[in-house]
């Protein structure tokens, strides 16, 4: 919602998220396979992953701040909030659950992030268009954006059953 009102920020956010997700799935894979499992500390998985994700996000934030102050400002509070994006943790956990190997994990993380990015960017482009639309007063802003998101998910239902395995 916050970053998807403009394509520019959405693209920035997408890159940040992709970076975080890929890196997080990589790290979590390593940690889980080389630290937790040997030490039979699987029950700590979720906790460790949260730690990993938080670190990666912080790191990303610093990098973004350094490399593109403008983007940093535009993303604002939403950059650290990637931490709470369930997709990130979900991907990391799913990686473990589905017993992906190292490369599968990375690709899985990257793929999920790419999908997220695509939707985010599309959504932002739509919202830019909507900004000029003559939306009734009570539905302006987030309301119509939510409706749009709903319609988008309708459309994505078309892909159901697409993956056979």
């Amino acid at each position: 919602m916050g970053v998807s009102s403009r394509t520019e920020t959405a693209i920035g956010m997408s890159f940040a998220t992709t970076f975080v997700m890929t890196l997080a799935s990589l790290l979590s894979y390593l940690i889980s396979n080389y630290i937790l499992i040997p030490l039979s500390l699987e029950y700590l998985t979720t906790m460790t992953f949260i730690l990993v994700i938080a670190v990666v996000v912080q790191f990303t934030e610093m990098v973004v701040h350094k490399t593109s102050a403008n983007l940093y400002r535009l993303l604002g509070i939403f950059l650290p909030l990637i931490t709470t994006n369930c997709a990130v943790l979900g991907v990391a956990l799913l990686n473990i659950k589905q017993q992906h190997n190292f490369f599968e994990s990375i690709i899985y993380g990257f793929g999920a992030a790419a999908g997220f990015s695509l939707v985010l960017i599309m959504f932002s482009a739509m919202r830019e268009k909507l900004a000029n639309a003559d939306v009734p007063k009570p539905f302006q802003g987030p309301a119509i954006a939510m409706i749009t998101a709903g319609l988008m998910s309708l459309a994505f239902m078309g892909f159901s059953g697409l993956v056979k395995f």
């Binding site: 268009k129 900004a131 000029n132 003559d134």
Partner: protein, 701 residues
């Protein structure tokens, strides 16, 4: 060269988009150009073109001859105007001008004496005798500005001179209804071609292309006949499509080149002139006839006799309509220019100006006045017809949302206002209107940004200056305090009285003012730091006079007549000053001060003059005296002299008030130092205040 080969073969390029509105040229293109009788009154707006208006040379009641120059070519971007006939200048006042806004501007009203007496003319049969510069000057003085629509001063266009590849003569006349150029070519092709020859001589282009649409067969024939002996000139017959006559579109159609955004055709080595302008050039150079008349298509189905006419500049539109048999309807719909890009007139007293090529009086059926705008359905037809390949509908969305950043990203400023998009729009959205508003808004925003930037710089310069001043002042204060202490001690011995204290305070104030003035000089030198030569000085002077002029403009409505006289005064004053400029280069500080004094005095004299113009002369003298006397003396002396002089003047009382007030401020700062003085000064202040109040009251009375 492939381009020219291609042109010779008659293959041209296509520009994107374009439309084919009903031409309606048959209304007027079968009748010869009619010469009209003199109207009862001619209204000449001082500004008829892009740029600045010239300075007025005549005043009310003057008798002028036909062709007499009325305004001065004062700045490069100005174009003089000339009397279209002999007669008397009845009035100089503001009146509605030919501008889409329907606003008023300063106009000359000439009552013709029906003698139509020419001023002396020197016709020049062989212009090759003259130097190109002479010809350019001639064109400039003949008041020729582009006659196609925009009215860009011609002499500027042709005096920029890198190597010119193409001189393009625009005879496309793509707007519906208009046949003025068509008829002009048919009837005056020789003169028009002479004009092209003159341009050829001045510009030395490699090729000359005449772009004309194929819906004017007679004109094409005439042009071909007239140019068949001239190898350089190619008559290029283009398919009819609106807006072929647009500058950029014609260039693309003829040469395949595109004018880069934000640049002028000259950057591609191309110069374009309208065919009517060529005719005017020839008339000016060969016959010494300034631009005082033009062909105007008076057309539309609300007219009984639509026809092309030779209209003197300044002819009111209603006279033209009358002559062409206008049947007025209840809602008058008059369009100056063509139906695509012309604008509605707010009243029919508007005069014909240099850029007016058509007066359209359509019937209700021809031009629908209804507006059935509905929402855009993004059908994209506008994008298909846009000659600039923009996305009109996206522009429209952004314009409605006032998203200026996005508008600029979508290249709003490459829009040429041609109206093709609005023409085809099935939702009947007045797209051009939205763009115009958006453009104006963006332009204003940019102006404000520039202003803000300027203000910022000035503010920062001032801050810096104030800081420096403060340091200087502190130093001075220290010194003064010490001196005072010494003197105070003496006085204390003798026993102090209130009056002497005030006197001392006054003296101090004077000293302080002197230092302040000195600081002011410094400040001037700070603000205009590096080069303290005449240039900067004259800039200051220029700024003052500019400010004056602006202010006068503010006052204008009320005091139209005064303005002219005042302008003259400014001129004389200015010339005084320039004389002075010559003999003083050395003493910068003094010089500057003298100048400021002069400027201020000038202003004062003006205000005085407004009250009564009798005192004018002695005042000027006094100013001159003041300047000359002050020049050689040192600062302090000068100020005291000035003060003295000021005291002599009628406003002495007022000034005294101010002085006491000043003393009050300065005294304030010293209160805590001298306990004893305090009471006395406070008393003085109270007194002064009371006095000041009283005087103010009197003044307001």
């Amino acid at each position: 060269m492939s381009i020219i080969e291609r042109i010779k073969k008659g293959h041209f390029w296509k520009f994107h988009g374009g439309i084919h509105p009903p031409e309606q040229k048959f209304l007027t293109n079968d009748k010869p150009i009619r010469t009209l009788d003199l109207p009862d009154e001619l209204i000449l707006p001082l500004q008829q073109h892009i740029g600045q208006r010239g300075e007025l040379l005549v005043k009310e009641g003057d008798k002028v001859l036909k062709g007499q120059q009325l305004t001065l070519l004062s700045s490069p971007m100005s174009v003089p105007i000339h009397a279209p006939t002999s007669g008397i200048i009845k009035a100089i006042k503001s009146s509605t001008i030919a501008h889409p806004s329907g606003l008023s501007d300063l106009c000359l009203f000439i009552t013709p004496d029906n003698v139509d007496k020419w001023q002396e003319r020197q016709s020049c049969e062989d212009f090759y005798q003259k130097s190109p510069q002479e010809i350019i000057n001639k064109i400039a003085n003949a008041g020729i500005a582009g006659m196609g629509g925009a009215g860009f001063p011609t002499h500027i266009k042709i005096s920029s001179k890198p190597s010119i590849n193409y001189l393009i003569i625009n005879a496309a006349e793509c707007e519906p209804y208009i046949t003025a150029d068509d008829l002009l070519i048919r009837e005056q092709s020789t003169t028009a071609i002479d004009g092209i020859k003159i341009l050829d001589y001045v510009l030395q282009p490699e090729h000359i292309l005449i772009g004309i649409e194929d819906n004017k067969p007679d004109a094409i024939k005439a042009l071909k006949k007239a140019t068949k002996d001239i190898k350089k000139i190619t008559v290029c017959v283009l398919p009819t499509k609106y807006p072929t006559g647009g500058e950029k579109q014609l260039i693309t159609a003829l040469t395949g080149l595109e004018v880069p955004s934000g640049q002028l055709p000259i950057n591609l080595g191309i110069i374009m002139q309208n065919i009517a302008t060529c005719f005017a050039i020839a008339d000016a150079v060969i016959n010494d006839t300034p631009l005082i008349r033009r062909v105007v298509t008076v057309t539309g189905q609300a007219l009984a006799k639509p026809q092309n006419v030779w209209a003197l500049l300044g002819t009111p539109v209603n006279y033209l309509l009358e002559q062409c048999g206008y049947q007025a309807t209840k809602d008058k719909n008059l369009i100056m220019g063509g139906p695509m890009m012309g604008f509605n007139l707010a009243n029919d007293q508007v005069p014909i100006i240099k850029t007016t090529n058509c007066i359209l009086a359509p019937s209700k059926q021809e031009v629908s006045s209804e507006n059935n705008e509905v929402d855009c359905i993004r059908c994209g037809q506008c994008a298909d017809v846009c000659p600039s390949q923009l996305l009109p509908q996206e522009l429209q969305w952004s314009a409605k949302a006032k998203d200026h950043v996005q508008l600029q990203k979508l290249n709003l400023f490459d829009c040429i206002d041609c109206g093709a998009c609005a023409y085809v729009c099935p939702s009947q959205i007045p797209l051009v209107q939205y763009y115009r508003i958006a453009k104006a808004e963006i332009r204003q925003q940019q102006m404000l940004d520039v202003q803000a930037e300027k203000a910022k710089i000035r503010f920062e310069a001032r801050k810096k200056r104030l800081e420096q001043e403060k340091i200087a002042r502190e130093a001075k204060h220290k010194k003064a305090a010490e001196a005072r202490k010494a003197s105070m001690n003496k006085k204390n011995e003798g026993g102090s009285s209130a009056t002497s204290a005030v006197a001392a305070a006054l003296a101090r104030v004077k000293a302080k003012k002197a230092s302040a003035q000195a600081a002011k000089n410094n400040e001037n030198s700070i603000t205009e730091q590096p080069t303290q030569d005449i240039d900067t000085k004259s800039k200051v002077a220029g700024a003052i006079s500019r400010a004056k002029a602006k202010k006068m403009a503010l006052n204008k409505e009320a005091k139209e007549n005064n303005t002219v006289v005042e302008a003259k005064v400014v001129n004389t004053a200015k010339s005084n000053k320039t004389d002075k400029d010559k003999d003083k280069d050395n003493d910068n500080d003094n010089d500057k001060k003298a100048r400021i004094a002069a400027a201020v005095a000038k202003a004062k004299q003006k205000s005085a003059q407004r009250a009564s113009s009798i005192e004018q002369k002695p005042e000027i003298q006094s100013v001159v005296e003041e300047n000359t006397s002050s020049r050689d003396e040192n600062k302090k002396a000068k100020i005291s002299a000035a003060v003295a002089k000021a005291k002599e003047k009628a406003k002495a009382k007022k000034l005294a008030t101010a002085e006491i007030k000043d003393s009050q401020t300065s005294a304030d700062s010293e209160i805590n130092r001298q306990e004893k003085k305090k009471i006395a000064i406070a008393k003085a202040i109270a007194k002064a205040k009371a006095k000041a109040k009283k005087q103010q009251k009197e003044e307001t009375k």
